[in-house]
């Protein structure tokens, strides 16, 4: 038996020896993996051609419940950094990261970049929450990545994270960030102009995916179609929403592409309104294939819908 164990040990040593140490990292690009595509777009803007970025999910997916697949672990296996949204939106990524056996990106590792640091979180529960309220976000609303007003904070977190791994490129990251924010600012002027006439309008949303965006542009979320997150809405709740929409003359329901668009349409019809599928993420709808395009899509849709 001892011989068997000894043999095993020898094999283990040989396997370990056969694997060469990680190659010198100076010449190659940083390999970055993001949990959601919005962050991929922003990481590309900041990292420029110094990084290769991949996302674990696609824009059409519901990020609350992404299924952890070993193909995610494969992407993460060779990553230098992983960029995560935080606030429990992408908590599932922990499982994929652990399954990747990549020491760089374990929780507490240098390659772990969380972008919610410094973000003023909305809808933080002020009273005790439990699951009788559905699948609530106990640490506040995590759907902030497509609020252009938060891009400076998010990109700063990304710059800091990437510069931790490649300090020699900090200046380049900072410059890329500045260029990107300048571009975003010029769009912001247009967006504000487009939204000015509809300021103060009320909208109904399916899941509170848009609160940061709506708040940024002075719109009001009057109600949600889901009674309690993750639990099918009761007919009574829908009746109430329809009544409210009629009373307050709310003309617009915003719905996520992964949500029950049919139900949103039905409620809209009853209430004499219209439902719009929004770019809840980069790549969620056609034409929203980068950060600015996604926001542009939402601004165009909303400003037309509310006019």
């Amino acid at each position: 038996m001892i011989r068997r164990i000894s043999a095993l040990v020898v094999v283990a040593v040989m396997v370990a020896a056969a694997m060469s140490p990680p190659a010198a990292q100076a010449a190659r690009k940083l390999r970055v993996v993001t949990t959601i595509p919005d962050l991929k777009s922003l990481a590309e803007a900041v990292g420029g051609d110094l990084v290769d970025v991949d996302s674990l999910t696609r824009g059409t997916q519901n990020f609350h419940e992404a299924e952890v697949k070993p193909s995610m672990m494969l992407k993460l296996r060779r990553a230098d950094a992983v960029i995560e949204n935080g606030l429990d939106l992408d908590a599932w990524a922990d499982v994929a990261i652990e399954g990747s056996n990549n020491q760089n990106i374990m929780r507490g590792g240098p390659g772990r970049i969380e972008i919610s640091r410094g973000v003023e979180v909305l809808e933080v529960p002020t009273t005790r929450v439990d699951r009788s309220m559905g699948d609530v976000h106990p640490r506040g609303n995590p759907h902030f990545s497509l609020d252009p007003g938060l891009a400076p904070i998010i990109t700063q977190n990304i710059v800091d994270g990437l510069a931790r791994l490649a300090p020699e490129h900090r200046a380049a990251f900072e410059q890329n960030r500045k260029d990107f924010l300048a571009k975003l600012d010029s769009h912001m002027v247009e967006w504000n102009k487009a939204m000015e006439p509809v300021k103060g309008s009320k909208v109904v949303v399916y899941h509170p995916d848009f609160i940061y965006f709506l708040t940024r542009f002075g719109l009001v979320q009057a109600a949600t179609l889901e009674d309690r997150p993750g639990i099918p809405a009761s007919p009574q709740h829908l009746v109430n929403v329809i009544r409210q929409m009629k009373e307050e003359k709310i003309k617009v329901i915003l719905v996520e592409p992964w949500n029950d668009v049919k139900l949103a349409n039905r409620v809209a019809e009853e209430a004499g309104a219209k439902a719009f599928v929004m770019a809840t993420a980069v790549g969620a709808v056609k034409g929203a294939d980068n950060y600015i395009a996604a926001i542009d899509y939402n601004i165009t849709t909303l400003s037309k819908a509310l006019r």
Binding site: I2, I5, M19, S71, R77, V95, E98, G108, G109
Partner: protein, 463 residues
């Protein structure tokens, strides 16, 4: 001799960890200095505060904010900010053990906690109950908590995580419920070259379903092949399991190797590291399309039975999932697992016909068992499925097959009810009458019921 082996293993672990620590030595020294400075600052702040407290206490109770009199010592301008919780960058740096613990505010748990409850019931024929060979052996025609589990898990420090599960459940009919340690592991996460090591008491990663806890299985009961070859609860062992994910392959491969005591009641009961249970597994995974994925694995386990006879299990597993774009759940899941058992057995031989065994003959007994499973989940809250089981017995002649259609209903993500009907047919040769009272488990028809809840945190499962 054993000491040598242990020494070699320890050396290996140390060697593996060495480069990591070497890189960090400089950083650690700086960190240490910084910590020392911080600690001095804290000490000063605490001194100042306690002085102030003494002063306040020595004064009569109703005071209207007395102005600070005299110097308060060399305290920093704002002691409050010195005591602020660690920032995110602080947390990212490696720390002295327990430094975090000392710094954190009161009341915040630094790990996750969850409770799951799994209740099952079964209704079957009287003769099956008499024979005690039902799916819930000895608990036929009963409703009971099978597994109520408290799980605690989280990062120990930047290098390791811990998982502890304590469970209670009914093991035999009656009012009593036993509590036991179901799982307790440390996982070293930052080993080099894409390796990880898990040590402690764990469910083994043999096949894809063995590692899954009772309440998380897609069926009411574990597949027959696991129950026949490894006992009602499958393979759960104490020891070490190392995993390796190579980074040079274009697809995901996970290689596992483990050394365990061998405490399995059925296949590996020797229970000593001198002749341990050694396990291995290779698993790979393909995304066929954006919506379809296939997982394939092969496992092996080799050890000794309680009678010190060699026992080897070789298993395959395959799982296919189809999840239409944008769906929150799979529409179709197909899976199969099989185990081939090669086992030395001892048979008594009566040479002179006096009814007493004179010698024991050793022989090798090969047996095979498998199951196929399909599940359809057309709506989020409803899933329909069926499993077909067929397995020989590992230590005695005969075999059994079973078919088990079921329906699962999920009122929410955290609550599930399941109803199954299981028909089992065992070969005539193996009419079981464990209790010697004329009962028979040759043909069984069982209604199985299950109710499961999740309270609090629950670690997500991969694929």
């Amino acid at each position: 001799m054993h000491a040598v082996v242990i020494l070699v293993v320890a050396l290996l672990v140390a060697l593996g960890a060495a480069p990591v620590f070497a890189q960090d030595t400089e950083a650690l020294r700086k960190e240490l200095e910084q910590l020392k400075r911080q600690q001095e600052q804290y000490q000063r702040a605490i001194d100042a505060l306690s002085q102030r407290l003494q002063r306040l206490e020595s004064q009569p109770a109703p005071v209207t904010t007395a102005p600070p009199s005299g110097p308060t010592g060399p305290s920093p301008a704002n002691p409050q900010s010195q005591m602020a919780p660690p920032s995110a960058t602080d947390l990212l740096r490696p720390r002295q053990p327990f430094a975090l613990y000392q710094q954190r505010g009161s009341g915040q748990l630094l790990f996750d906690m969850g409770v799951t409850g799994d209740f099952v019931g079964n209704i079957t024929q009287h003769n099956v109950q008499k024979s005690g060979t039902g799916t819930f052996a000895g608990r036929e025609n009963r409703f009971f908590p099978r597994e109520v589990e408290l799980s605690l898990f989280g990062q120990i420090d930047p290098y390791a995580r811990a998982d502890v599960r304590i469970e209670a459940g009914e093991e035999e009919p009656g009012a009593a419920t036993g509590v036991s340690l179901a799982e307790a592991t440390i996982t070293l996460l930052t080993l080099p070259y894409g390796t990880q090591a898990k040590l402690g008491q764990m469910r083994n990663r043999f096949g894809w379903s063995n590692v899954i806890h009772e309440h998380d299985l897609p069926w009411v009961d574990r597949p027959d092949v696991y129950r026949m070859f490894l006992g009602e609860e499958g393979l759960a062992e104490k020891g070490v399991e190392a995993s390796w994910v190579p980074d040079f392959l274009p697809f995901y491969v996970q290689v596992l190797g483990g050394i365990f005591n061998g405490d399995n009641e059925t296949a590996f009961g020797h229970g000593r590291l001198t002749s341990p249970l050694v396990t291995g597994r290779v698993m790979t995974f393909f995304d066929l399309t954006d919506t379809m994925a296939l997982q394939v694995g092969a496992s092996v386990a080799n050890g000794e039975t309680p009678e010190r006879l060699r026992s080897t299990l070789v298993g395959y597993d395959i799982k296919f999932k189809y999840r239409p774009d944008g769906w929150l759940h799979p529409l179709l899941t197909l899976a199969s697992e099989g185990i081939y058992s090669i086992r030395r057995t001892e048979r008594g031989v009566d040479v002179n016909g006096d009814g007493i065994f004179d010698t024991f003959q050793k022989q090798t007994r090969n047996s095979f068992g498998w199951y196929g499973w399909t599940e359809l989940q057309p709506w989020r809250r409803w899933a329909f499925g069926a499993r077909y089981d067929s397995t020989q017995y590992s230590a005695s002649p005969g075999y059994q097959w079973a078919v088990e259609p079921y329906v699962s209903f999920y009122p929410s993500e955290f609550l599930r009810f399941r109803l199954a009907y299981k028909h089992t047919d065992r070969t005539q040769r193996d009419v079981l009458d464990l209790n010697g009272n004329g009962g028979s488990g040759r043909i069984m028809d069982e209604w199985l019921f299950q109710a499961t809840f999740i309270l609090g945190a629950h670690p997500a499962h991969a694929f």
